[in-house]
């Protein structure tokens, strides 16, 4: 759009605003619902303005014991652990495998790359039954290991690091060799610091990925001790013989949203930098 046509500006903004409204409205409803008392929502008329009950709802979520639902703090703790282990594990494994694939000549190197690459086409949902069988046979049901290990092996991150390593000039490695740095020193002193922004970007993506896991934790945990937040919110809504208490559920939803939002806000600069620019 080189020309400046007022109606076109109006139209583009109108379309954008419609899109934003569609995306934001449910989140807004959740926020509003978390600020009202239990009766306001069950009356059938959804209020659109904030109420005064937010604090009470939050306190209720944090303290109330419910049947079939683990305490909020425990679930948040589990989610946090799961997200952190997945993030750290994925980055550690993928950066090392990318290093091997890019910098070492070994038999089956291309095959190894393609095997990793092909798993991109097989997300957890597709291989969920065999994966469950393996985890169950290894006795890892109801454990942090069972929650995280199957989600750690990651082609996406390996691929991202591979692409980044390939943009690092060969001379860098040769200079390091002349300078007396072996493979481990080169990795630690040169590649790792250069990958800093990539690692930060991946941290953001993977933390949110881990935090948002629902299906897998639902499958491998039966002990409330290992329930995660995403499961807990769903379980809070599934009460028998009574209306779900939407005000407290929404308060839990809003609190569960906070960590990813904070991470995005605080790491946004590094995140964007890691995805768009490489320091060579």
């Amino acid at each position: 759009m080189v020309e400046n046509r007022p109606w076109l500006t109006f139209l583009t903004h109108f379309v954008l605003i419609c899109g934003v409204v569609i995306v934001v409205f449910p989140v807004y409803i959740a926020l509003i619902a978390s600020t009202h008392g239990p009766t306001a929502l069950s009356s059938g008329m959804m209020p659109l303005l904030p109420g005064a009950e937010l604090w009470n709802n939050v306190v209720q979520v944090l303290t109330e014991e419910r049947r079939g639902v683990a305490p909020f703090w425990l679930m948040a703790w589990n989610s946090l652990w799961m997200a952190i282990i997945i993030t750290v594990g994925k980055i550690a494994i993928s950066i090392i495998s990318a290093y091997a694939i890019v910098y070492f000549r070994f038999p089956g190197r291309v095959l190894a790359f393609w095997l990793i690459f092909i798993t991109l086409m097989l997300p957890v949902e597709v291989r969920i039954i065999p994966t469950f069988a393996v985890v169950a046979n290894l006795g890892m049901l109801n454990s942090y290991l069972g929650l995280t290990i199957p989600l750690i092996a990651s082609a996406t991150a390996t691929f991202l690091f591979r692409q980044f390593f390939m943009t690092v000039p060969d001379e860098m490695m040769e200079a390091a060799r002349v300078d007396g740095a072996g493979p481990i020193k080169f990795f630690r002193d040169i590649l790792l610091p250069l990958s800093r922004t990539n690692i930060a970007a991946l941290c953001v993506i993977l933390f949110i990925y881990g935090w948002m896991q629902y299906l897998w934790p639902l499958l491998v945990t039966t002990d409330p001790k290992y329930y995660t937040l995403m499961m807990g919110v769903k379980r809070m809504a599934a009460v028998a013989d009574a209306d779900p208490q939407w005000n407290t559920i929404m308060a839990a939803v809003v609190m569960a949203m906070l960590p990813p939002v904070l991470i995005v806000i605080f790491m946004q600069r590094l995140f964007v930098k890691g995805l768009v620019e490489t320091e060579k």
């Binding site: 001379e171 860098m172 040769e174 002349v178 300078d179 740095a181 040169i190 250069l194």
Partner: protein, 347 residues
């Protein structure tokens, strides 16, 4: 300080592509040898083989008294300056200079002493705490040199270190490298495709072509007595005029001298052609183009009966204009004879 000896060195890449054909070369202690040639002639491969960044298919490379064929680059005690400098972007200049010494376990005070000394010599002391991206091209070049100097290695290897600089800076750095190498007296191998750089820097010049050495010698020897057609055409700017005898005989008539048997191409440097008349092969042609370079003028002259344009150099301003007729003489003493078949010089 050490000499470098290459004996029967060969490099064959996968798929039977021979990059270097059995090559012998000895480089004396403290000497600066320049490898020069067109791209793809194997000069960089040879340098990287000396550095240990490429494997050696056959033959031996020794630095000092050690055969280094199987040694890692770090164990060969050489330092290399790369074309794109290959500075570590996340380290400060000081850390860049220190890195190689630290890896070798040099004591802290010794590292500081050497880094400060190198920084003083190269005048980069004010930049020691900056990152490479905050430096200009010339300053990065100096840091790359500094990284080599602090190591006090047996040999410096330069891989086209000046080709990323602009012409003025290149000239300046060339002089600086020469001065530095003279004062440090470290054996150096320098790769370039720029024949001016090669001529001015080298103690000895090695002209390479197609993985073989064409000629080794002092730059002026190579200029005065090129051993082959390739060297004759490669060394000197503007390049030597190479004229087939058969065509010359037809147009020069009576002024054509008798030449040694086997000569079928004669060469003459553009600056040795005499405009006007005199002793030698007398020719005349039309000036197609004049390039005034300042101190001298390059005349491109078309001669009836010759396929190529002759280049003449006149000191100062050109005495003729474009499209003018010009008479000139090729003095016999300045002629180089070559055999077309073998490509070699005939004396």
């Amino acid at each position: 300080m050490a000499s470098i000896d290459l004996k029967g060195v060969r490099k064959v890449y996968q798929g039977n592509v021979t990059a270097i054909h059995a090559l012998d070369l000895s480089i004396a202690d403290g000497e600066l040898v320049v490898l020069v040639g067109p791209s793809g002639c194997g000069k960089s491969t040879l340098l990287r083989m000396i550095a240990g960044l490429e494997t050696i298919t056959d033959g031996t490379i020794s630095i000092g008294d050690d055969v280094v064929n199987k040694k890692e680059p770090a164990e060969r005690d050489i330092a290399m300056v790369f074309q794109n400098y290959a500075l570590y972007p996340h380290m400060s200049v000081r850390q860049n200079l220190e890195y190689g010494l630290k890896n070798r376990g040099t004591p802290r005070d010794e590292i500081d002493r050497r880094v400060n000394e190198a920084a003083r010599i190269l005048e980069i002391t004010p930049f020691l705490d900056r990152k490479p991206r905050q430096l200009s091209g010339g300053q990065r070049q100096r840091v790359a040199m500094g990284r080599a100097i602090v190591r006090q290695p047996k040999a410096f290897l330069f891989d086209e270190p000046l080709s990323n600089l602009d012409a003025k800076l290149r000239g300046q750095m060339r002089i600086e490298i020469r001065r530095l190498q003279r004062s440090l007296k470290t054996t150096s191998v320098y790769v370039t495709h720029d024949q001016l750089e090669a001529m001015t820097l080298a103690d000895r010049l090695v002209v390479m072509n197609g993985g073989r050495i064409e000629q080794v010698g002092k730059p002026i020897e190579l200029y005065d007595k090129p051993a082959s057609l390739f060297v004759a055409g490669f060394i000197g700017s503007p390049p030597m005029n190479l004229l087939p005898i058969a065509a010359l005989q037809a147009i020069a008539g009576g002024t054509m001298p008798s030449l040694p048997a086997g000569t079928d191409i004669v060469g003459i440097r553009p600056d040795q052609v005499v405009v006007g008349s005199g002793e030698g092969i007398a020719l005349s042609g039309t000036v197609e183009l004049i390039e005034p370079v300042g101190g001298e003028s390059h005349l491109y002259v078309r001669v009836e009966g010759l396929d190529q344009t002759l280049i003449l150099v006149q000191q100062g301003r050109a005495s003729v204009g474009e499209a003018d007729k010009v008479d000139f003489v090729l003095p016999l003493a300045a002629l180089h004879g070559f055999n077309k078949e073998s490509g070699l010089r005939v004396d």
